[in-house]
Symmetry: C2
Subunit: 104 residues, 2 copies
Amino acid sequence: MEKIARQCMLYDFYGELLTEHQRRVYEDAVFNDMSLSELASEYGISRQGVHDLMKRCDKTLEEYESKLQLVARFGKVKETVEAIQTCDDLPTIKQMAGEILEEL
Amino acid sequence: MEKIARQCMLYDFYGELLTEHQRRVYEDAVFNDMSLSELASEYGISRQGVHDLMKRCDKTLEEYESKLQLVARFGKVKETVEAIQTCDDLPTIKQMAGEILEEL
């Protein structure tokens, strides 16, 4: 997965577990595509400070994922639900629903 | 929801975020139905110590739930998938699948 796409997904699941300050900077970097210089100027910290903060956030979010596996689990569930949406065979749909319930 | 059922669900989602020691005691209390006295004897701590540990674990798990809402979200998804399993009307199934995708 592309780095930015992974950051978005991790943030969607675990962003609430970051501090308010971390969330603001991380959102501006990942969702608003702000550069290190722009972030440094916006938050009155050095470029190195922004870099370190982003690295720490990435690490924190990956640690939560390694423990809870929500991105992985939800990804599988989502794929199967999408398959149900495009499937017209009832027995196959029931089987896929069963697979989801095992995953949950 | 009954207290023990809620503890089970919270633990299923967030148990990995407790310490190894907390996990062991909590599992014995919630899943193996051990009493305070049994736990105190098993882990060489006082009954009050066990009580405090359980309270701290409950609080930690509820805090994660208040931030991530996994029990609530997965509960809704699970209900809808179960409805898909017992439904034989394709248009209704597609609609329910759409609802799940919005929730995820």
